[in-house]
Structures are given as C-alpha cells and as structure tokens.
Amino acid sequence: MTNPPDTSQPIQSRRRTLLYALAALVSLIGLADAIYLTIEHLSGRSVRCTIVSGCSEVLSSEYATVRGIPLAMIGAAAYFAVFSLAVLAAYSYRWAAKSLTVIVGLMFITTLWLIYLQAFVIKHFCQFCLLSAFVTFILTVLIVISLRRN
C-alpha cells in the first residue's frame, strides 16, 4: 500500500507565486503614487492650496518630512523594496518572502499612524496619501493570505 502522490504542494506553490506576483504589481501602483507625490512635494505644486485638494495641508505639515526628507520619498523607497522582495519571493527566495512580511507589516503600522494624523491632527485628507494607504492595505491582505497558505 503506497500513499497517493501529494499534488497539493505544487498547486499551493503556484498560488503563492501568484500572490507575490500580484503584490509586486500592486506595489508598482504605490511606487508610481509615491514618486508623483515626491515630485509634487519637491516642486511645491501640491503644497500650494487648491480648491480640490487637501494635500497642501498635509504636505505643508510638520509630519510631511522626516529630518528634511519628504515622507513620500521614503514611501517610494519602501514600495520599491516591496516590489523587489515580492519579485524575488515569487522566484522562491525564502529570505525575500520573510523580509517582505516584515516590511509590509511596518508599512501597515506606519499607514495607520498617517491616517490617524490626517484624520485627527491635520484634519485634512490628501487623496494621494489615501491611495498609498489603500495600496498598503491591499499588500497587507495579500501577505496575510500568503502566510496562511504557508
């Protein structure tokens, strides 16, 4: 009597690969958003008040920079890191998958803090920051699903 061949492993592996590939694609949206926001911040266009945006209040606040570095620029670096790690994880680099979990976890916590600041301290929402938050939430969901499959 022999055990039936375990066919679930390759399927699960393929699903994980798909999840990481999806995370890489989603992180590109965040990367594009963060690059745009960084340029807007550096050029001062979004820092100007306009009729449709709350970005001026957010980007001109003391929370928009960390030691002189625009937060959006740090966000762009984080999204690029997520993209790189997700691609490597999709190619079965285990250390990349672990690092991805850590970095997305940190981004999720940072995002919660930034939403709190916008809602209760600055009292204005910037649509580009909200898009970034949405992307981070999606990434978190994807990573949680991939962890469950592990």
């Binding site: 590109l28 990367l31 594009a32 690059i35 745009y36 960084t38 340029i39 807007e40 550096l42 050029s43 001062g44 266009r45 820092v47 100007r48 008040c49 306009t50 009729i51 449709v52 945006s53 709350g54 001026s56 209040e57 001109s60 606040s61 762009a76 690029f80 993209f83 790189s84 691609v87 490597l88 999709a90 190619y91 680099y93 009292k123």
Partner: protein, 241 residues
Amino acid sequence: MKRALPFLIIGTVLVIAVVAALYLKRSASTAVAPPPASPASPAIPAAGNGANGPTTGNETAATAEVGATPPHTHGPADAPVTLEEFGDFECPPCGLLHPVLQTMEKEFSGRIRLIFREFPLVPTHVHALAAARSAEAAGLQGKFWEMHDLLYENQKTWHDAFDARPIFEEYATRIGLNIEKFRADSSGEIVAQRIFLDGKRGHAMGVSGTPTVFMNGREVPFESLAPDKLRALIQAQLNAK
C-alpha cells in the same frame, strides 16, 4: 538566465522609476519656470490697480480683469519691484509666506511694493471667505493690513474654531475698528464685490491655488517663494532695472 531574471525585472523597474521621476521633475519645473530677469521686462505700473502690468500669457485677460479697485498695496507706488499675491488667509502655505514677504519688505525697503488679492478657496477652507470678508471690511476703515497681519499670524487659532467670526470681531476691536460698521461691512455688498473682482482677476491670470505670487506681472514659481530664492529673484529684477 532564469536565476538572473528577477534581478533583471527589478533593475528594469528601477530604471523606469528613475526616468519617470526625472521626467516628472523636469515637467514640474518647466511648467512654472522663472522668466529671466531682463531690462525689457515691463513692470506693473506703479500706481493704481496693476491692470496694465502683467506680461504673462494671460496678459489680455489679466488686463481686462483689473481686480478690486483700489487694490491693497504696501510700499511706494513707484517701486521698481511689485509683488502681487493671491492669497487665502486660511491656507497654511500662505501663512508661511507671510513672514517671508514681511522680511523682503524690510530688506528691500522703498524698492518693493506688495499687492494683496483675495483668493479664498471655498469650500476647501471653511473660514476662508469669512476671513477675506473681515480683512476687506477692515480695509473699508483703513486697517486692511493690520487685519491681514493678525489673520495670518493667528491662522492656527481661528482655523480650528467652529465659528471664527467672534474671533475676527475680537481682532477688529483690537485694531480699533468701529465694530458695528465692521459687522455690517463684513456681510455687505462692497466687500463681496471686491473679493469677487480679485478672484476674477486671479482666474484671468491663471491662478489655480494659493499662494500665487506675480513679480512685475510674471508668476513666481512656488518653489522660488523660499526666502533665499525670492531674495535672489527680487535682487535680479532690481539689477535689471
């Protein structure tokens, strides 16, 4: 080759991201590139409403829209440099620009003239219109700049208030205005018309946000409103005269 593929993908995205960032940066700066200061640049005429001065692409429209007359000005009428600000008292960057313009005024005393134009961003800023009305009402009693300064210097105080009008009335009392007249003027037609005319001029000149500053009729890029850059621009304009 398969082992190198993920790194190839990452490298490609990095290159695309850097190129996109450079392209965006370039288009952001060329969109509002500062004009070279040249002796040929005509200045806003010293007196009056600045209607004949602007030399931007919106020259014709700006000439047609003179804004509120007379405008609120500070500095000599024949100053070689005129800075015309379209501002919103509730806009934080306008609040940050306020001390910068005050510093420039001190440093270039007698050679610079400021014009303030109302551009309240409604509904983004809930108290902006009331603040503009208060400043204009103070202007009808000859105290526009006193109210202008108080509004900017205490922006954070009234910005968070549920109803800012009592605070504005307290400012009016502080600068010695007739409070009954101030109240009546704040909701009056003259003040409303002045704000409307300034806004109309702003739109004609392509203003879409605040603060927007024109130096001798040419728009100063937002990033050049930092003290050092603005100082250099003013100096260049003075040297060109």
